[in-house]
């Protein structure tokens, strides 16, 4: 561990930071975009854009921070299962409210 300061180590750390920092920059950009767009009067489109950006941000975090891009299919299945059941709940309950 005393070697941590050496040149090669430093380079390896820089290397490992590259992807997270890039993702972070993208997230910040999207944040600026979403907050900015909220003040442009677009009617219903406002919430659509905002939610779309939220989905993109969530996907970035899930894929690269939570490493789903490199995970086994089992982990992806567990992640998708939650969303599948969420959609089930929205569809069937929403169906009731929209047809009352």
């Amino acid at each position: 561990m005393s070697m941590e300061g050496t040149q090669s180590r430093r380079q390896e750390i820089l290397q490992l930071c590259k992807l997270p920092v890039a993702i972070w920059a993208a997230l910040m950009l999207l944040l600026a975009l979403t907050v900015g767009s909220a003040y442009v009067p677009l009617g219903t489109l406002n919430i659509v854009i905002n939610l779309a950006i939220a989905c993109i941000k969530a996907t970035l975090v899930a894929l690269f921070f939570m490493k789903l891009n490199r995970s086994s299919s089992l982990l992806r299945l567990a992640a998708v299962a939650g969303f599948f059941w969420l959609i089930l709940m929205f569809l069937l309950t929403g169906g009731d409210y929209l047809t009352r």
């Binding site: 089992l74 939650g82 059941w85 089930l88 709940m89 069937l92 169906g95 047809t99 009352r100």
Partner: protein, 547 residues
């Protein structure tokens, strides 16, 4: 051919069993052994079962007279609420998964323990703390909302400790979730070499299916109870119609959990029945693959039918239509299972030992419960019998006739494995028959009086229903005898019963290949599996070959 390559050890004790790992109370309360945790669960749910049973005993006594016998309206409401909350959350939901699931799942797949043993113990503590807290609160302050906590009754009008009871149930929910996560991870990660997915016993599949339901449904219950607590405590309007809130939203959230919860109760029972039928008919389970698909089918489609609890609650007629259709759809995999069980028995060498009698009871009662479920799934009939004793009878046929019968079948089937002792089969068969008769005497009259219009949750009723109520209460007495009897002879067997060998039923399955009771690590050496489950029949004299 079997297929389990373990050396057959002579039945002399080769090592200490899990029961000898420590005799102090502390050794039990700090154990991470899945088998000991299963025993802890078994003891606690048995206690809760009898508390919940005592509550309904009083209710049944009260109903002997059309004008009530000895309870006030308030006391009556509290007693049936207590019965519902305790039986649903502190007995039926944890019953088979946490006891037999905990004990058998690792053994059936050839593992040493569940994936996260400490989480397993924590889950028991959460369960017991939540359950005892709720029961104390119900007894001390009373809850009169019914087990469903419907808004706005629970948020605006009900008296008593609604908040405390909801918090207690919320806490036990975490126990369910932790158990579910543990079982799924165990099944995926810790199967013995050669134990492929299509070689798993159906009991393992059923525990897997039920765990999926547990982890995806329970959090929604947690949220709906949390919202009730928030609204009741802080007066923050969420379901309050005075502020434009919609009480039906609560019902949607509540039944998103509570209908799948019915499958939490019945799926493991189905697993048990498959094991017992195969063993006592000496046949492979008919249609093994279809059984797996139907288990998973019930688990998934069971999530899409909750609206049938809300046909008369103000749901849109179109939603009623969809939910009605889906409720019929979920009957298909259940029917597949019933047909396959019957086909398993067909041509089998049936032996009517006690576990088999309990399982046969399950088959009949579950079929009646399932078929009356179809009545209730069709909107017109449901409108006629909503909130009557017809509904009560229907779900008791599933939950008591189905799940509880299966629980007793499992108890009698695996008792020699768990305790290492044999019980008197005569008394056990007597208990099984008493239970079947008592159950029918209690609940068949309820179908009739419900159809004729006797509403649930009333203790004052027109005289025309008295005869049914009297028969029902008489049946309850019989049922109580049948529930207390096993306590006596099983308790007796713990001290005076003959020692069991590894496999008293000549059953197939990894759990029967180890000593009774099993050693701490379940197997003397790690098992290797080379064939499918249920190797019964002519050439199936369990052959073991050396690894």
């Amino acid at each position: 051919m079997t297929d389990i390559t373990i050396d057959r050890f002579p039945d002399t004790k080769t090592g200490e069993s899990y029961l000898d790992e420590g005799h102090s109370l502390a050794s039990w309360l700090t154990t991470t052994d899945h088998k000991r945790i299963a025993i802890l669960y078994a003891l606690s749910i048995t206690a809760f079962f009898f508390i919940g049973g005592a509550a309904i005993g009083l209710v049944r006594l009260e109903l002997l007279e059309p004008n009530g016998l000895f309870l006030t309206d308030e006391e009556y409401n509290r007693l049936f609420t207590m019965h519902g909350i305790i039986m649903v959350w502190f007995f039926l939901v944890p019953s088979i998964p946490t006891t037999f699931g905990n004990f058998l799942l690792p053994m059936m797949i050839g593992a040493k323990d569940v994936a996260f043993p400490r989480l397993n113990l924590m889950s028991w503590y959460l369960f017991v703390i939540g359950a005892i807290f709720t029961i104390v609160m119900i007894v001390a302050g009373g809850v009169d909302t019914g087990w469903t906590f419907y808004t706005p009754l629970s948020t605006l009008y009900a008296n008593g400790n609604v908040i405390a009871a909801a918090v207690g149930v919320f806490v036990t929910g975490f126990s369910s979730i932790a158990t579910g996560i543990n079982f799924i991870a165990t099944t995926h990660m810790l199967r013995a070499p050669g134990m492929t997915w299509t070689r798993l016993p159906l009991f393992v599949w059923s525990i897997y299916a039920v765990s999926v339901v547990m982890i995806l449904a329970t959090p929604v219950l947690a949220m709906s109870l949390l919202l009730v607590v928030v609204e009741r405590w802080f007066g923050v309007p969420i379901f309050n119609p005075n502020n434009g809130g919609d009480p039906l939203l609560f019902q949607h959230l509540f039944w998103f959990y509570s209908h799948p919860a019915v499958y939490i109760m019945i799926l493991p029972a189905m697993g048990v029945i498959s094991e017992v039928f195969a063993c006592f008919a000496r046949r492979k389970v008919f249609g093994y693959t279809a059984m797996i698909y139907s288990l998973m089918g019930i688990a998934v489609v069971g999530f899409m039918v909750w609206g049938h609890h809300m046909f008369v609650a103000g749901q849109s007629p179109y939603a009623n239509l969809v939910f009605s259709f889906l409720s019929f759809v979920v009957a298909v995999p259940s029917a597949i299972k019933v047909f396959n069980w019957v086909a398993t028995l067909y041509g089998g060498q049936i032996v009517f030992k006690a576990p088999m009698l309990y399982a046969m009871g399950f088959l009949g009662l579950f079929t009646v419960g399932g078929l009356t479920g179809l009545f209730l799934a069709s909107v017109p009939i449901d409108i006629h019998v909503t909130d009557t004793y017809f509904v009560i009878a229907h779900f008791h046929f599933i939950m008591v006739g189905g799940s509880v019968s299966a629980f007793f079948a499992a108890l009698h089937f695996w008792w020699p494995k768990i305790t290492g002792r044999l019980y008197p089969d005569y008394w056990a068969r007597f208990g099984a028959i008493t239970m079947f008769l008592g159950f029918n005497a209690t609940f068949l009259p309820q179908f009739v009086m419900g159809y004729e219009g006797m509403p649930r949750r009333y203790h004052v009723y027109p005289e025309q229903f008295q005869v049914y109520h009297v028969i029902s209460t008489a049946g309850t007495v019989l049922l109580a005898v049948a529930y207390i009897l096993p306590l006596l002879y099983l308790g007796w067997s713990l001290f005076y019963g003959n020692r069991s060998n590894r496999n008293p039923w000549h059953a197939a399955g990894l759990e029967w290949e180890t000593t009774s009771p099993p050693p701490k690590d379940n197997f003397e050496r790690p098992p290797v599996v080379t064939g499918g489950p249920y190797a019964y029949g002519e050439d199936s004299e369990p052959q073991a070959h050396t690894a």
